[in-house]
Symmetry: C2
Subunit: 458 residues, 2 copies
């Protein structure tokens, strides 16, 4: 939505032209109204919320930021609240309740009807990130004994409040999920056809369980290009559905979590600008501390070679470059491996193939880098090319080659090993790789130096 | 799909029980059949492909890997190819043709009917990653003058081959897109209602243009929770649609690209296991080279302080730890900033707020790390705590504090600056940050050491 439109709406609001404002808003998409809403003062928010037609106001509510939702709920009457809860889809109510303080939850529950209250309470108990915690119950359920004509009749009569009518769920008398049927199948078939003849069943029937992780659910929806997926309990009874728009949000959230792990910060659900400085600092300190302390290794290694480093010119100056190059080479491999594991492109059982590939990639990259580095050192004349300088150069370039090859090997081994023993590759492997590659690079470099430069200065 | 099922199918295949195999496959989902297919020998692939009913075989074809698709196309007769192209959705044909050599494209085009050939040629000309290159033309188009009853009649008559019938597109006589209407709206309204009364139009009508970037299209589908979005040409005429399942694939691909940039490798469309070692090495060498050469700065800086480093015990040993900590602190901020910019959580205009936040976060993290480091150095007795040792410790800890604060400032400034001047933050800012933070950290550290430790050894 453009700035001009928002300005125009604000003008109508401040001029008190509520009639015009109301009809302007009624023409708009609920997502855009929510965007306009977010920029208003709390008092104006309440006013605009009350201007909106009831069905539109609940749609807008579902798209508001938690803070604004709470502001509304705290300002409206019990009766308005009860109507709002009634209009909202159950998954949106549960989403909202998961973010607010207990007293708000209590008030919302008090104003929900008995059946909804029971459902909300059950939904709030599903573990975070489980299919149960994100599903909704507003789906079309059809008994398996009816015909296409009866099914369409049922949808027309009961479908208005459903989150989707495009996939319908067929159940038997005991509410077991036994098939799904797309609305398009109903439209293209004759009224007299029994739906059991055309539904997807048995092996083609794709469903998830309430305790399945939301990431698995996302993988299934993505793999089979579904618009929605049914959720069953352990006995196979239909208890809810999850729609593709929620899956898109989950994919985004999971990706953000992966980026957080790469950034070595703890996970946070809140948006950056709304999180306090202390909370942000708290999310970042743990890994910074752990990694700093693990750098003790590199310090110790250098200490052990201090006399040699002091005696031979040019040795110390190359340390940052070697460590950075090793780190970058390892980081390339580990990031791609972690991403590949996340998308299913690679699996732990491919380890030998991957190792063999990375070994050869390491040899190629290492050789090119070593040669380029030789040229660089020569052109920039870091230390004298003549006398001892050439030996130092050779040690630096050999160490560079070994460091790149080993970084590639470590970079693919750790994530796959973590995955194989069911640990999170991004969390376990990422930070360890830097530390290990750093230490190994230094040991190779200084070890080579001690072996080959012994006569030069020590 | 489980391993057992695949084994059972393979047994049917090798036993030559094609009748049973055919009926087993007909029960399965096309995605699972494609998975089974991927594990077969080329010869068996052709056999299975021919066993499948025509409509199912084209659905399976769309889910195959490009290599397997090419194997099929190269093995079937012209007549079979012509039938296949006829059954495929246009976007799947175009996807496939974008991956194969020119001679295969020519053969496919030769076997398509004239109208399809014209369309394919036009689609292949849209720029990569544009809305035009990923859209399909199999959508339901309704003239704005008809009623709900006529609309449903049209859908039943012409909808079978459409990629989605759940959103229908209303056009005027000149084919301008003037509205969209959900199938659910048609179902819940009376047959006699004119569709122009209930369609989404004007401001609620959401569409994209053929040359829009696919990332923008994904943002719109995600924001408005759409099942499909219409694509128009510059004159506003409807030319195609993009469905949500393709959007999910695009979100995945865009995220993978962001991970590749973080890993500092060039983008590759192919799956890791199928890419040759040389190509993988080629994708990784450029950034490794650039970053190695940029490490010349750090080398030069250390060279300038070589005498001091040689003279004072303990100074050199702290270099890797300081650089790693600075790098990690900067990396935390830059990764979160790059991700925040990608999801729209933050924008360049928030720079001052973000800078102020990061400055305070830097002070908190820097102080905690400096204190922790002091303890660590004391406990591990790196160099003598008495005599000059304490001064070295103080310099190391002060440098650590300054490095963390500066890393946070640089880490948020560069990505936002890149975005503000329309450069890709992940590509421009990521690699530069390491180099700049490294150099700045070293300069602060060695500068502080020269200033305060002058009397100790130099």
């Amino acid at each position: 939505m453009d700035e001009e439109k928002i300005l125009a709406l604000n003008e109508l609001l401040s001029a008190g032209k509520f009639g015009t404002l109301k009809s302007e808003l009624a023409e708009m998409n609920e997502v855009d109204i929510a965007e306009f809403f977010g920029g208003l003062e709390p008092k104006s928010q309440l006013l605009v919320f009350r201007i909106l037609p009831k069905d539109l106001s609940s749609e807008v509510f579902a798209y508001l930021e938690p803070d604004d939702q709470m502001n509304i709920v705290n300002s409206i009457t019990d009766r308005e609240l009860s109507e709002l809860v009634d209009e909202l889809f159950l998954d949106d109510t549960v989403d909202f309740l998961e973010e607010v303080p207990a007293n708000v939850v209590t008030r919302v529950l008090k104003n929900a009807d008995k059946e909804t209250r029971k459902l909300i309470n059950r939904f709030l108990q599903y573990p975070e990130n489980s299919a149960g915690s994100i599903m909704t119950i507003e789906m079309v359920q059809l008994h398996d004994t009816i015909t296409v004509g009866q099914a369409i009749e049922t949808i027309r009569r009961t479908g208005v409040d459903k989150e989707t009518i495009y996939t319908c769920y067929c159940i038997d008398k005991a509410r077991h999920l036994i098939g799904t049927i797309d609305l398009s199948e109903l439209i293209f078939n004759d009224d007299s056809v029994p739906i059991s003849d055309i539904m997807e069943e048995d092996e083609s029937l794709i469903s998830v369980k309430t305790l399945d992780d939301q990431e698995e659910v996302a993988d299934i929806v993505r793999k089979y290009d579904l618009l929605s997926v049914p959720v069953t309990d352990n006995e196979g009874r239909l208890v809810g559905i999850i729609t593709v728009d929620d899956i898109v949000d989950i994919i985004d959230a999971e990706n953000t979590e992966d980026f957080e792990k790469m950034a070595k910060v703890l996970h946070s659900d809140e948006s950056y600008l709304k999180t306090s400085v202390f909370k942000l600092a708290r999310n970042r300190i743990p890994w910074l501390l752990i990694l700093m302390i693990s750098a003790t290794f590199t310090g110790r290694i250098i200490e052990g070679f201090e006399n040699m480093l002091a005696a031979i010119a040019g040795l110390t100056a190359a340390i940052p470059m070697l460590m950075d190059t090793g780190g970058n080479a390892g980081n390339q491999t580990s990031t791609l491996a972690i991403r590949g594991l996340a998308t299913g492109d690679i699996e732990p059982r491919d380890y030998i193939r991957i190792l063999w590939k990375e070994l050869r990639i390491g040899v190629i990259c290492g050789a090119i880098l070593a040669i380029a580095n030789m040229l660089r050192l020569y052109l920039l004349q870091f230390v004298g090319w003549s006398s001892g300088g050439i030996h130092v150069f050779l040690v630096i370039c050999s160490a560079m080659f070994c460091a790149v090859v080993l970084a590639k090997v470590i970079g693919c081994t750790l994530p796959l090993a973590a995955k194989a023993i069911k640990l999170d590759p991004a969390l376990m492997a990422g930070p360890m790789i830097t530390t290990i590659v750093d230490a190994v690079t230094l040991l190779i470099y200084l070890g080579l130096a001690r072996t080959f430069l012994n006569g030069l200065g020590v």
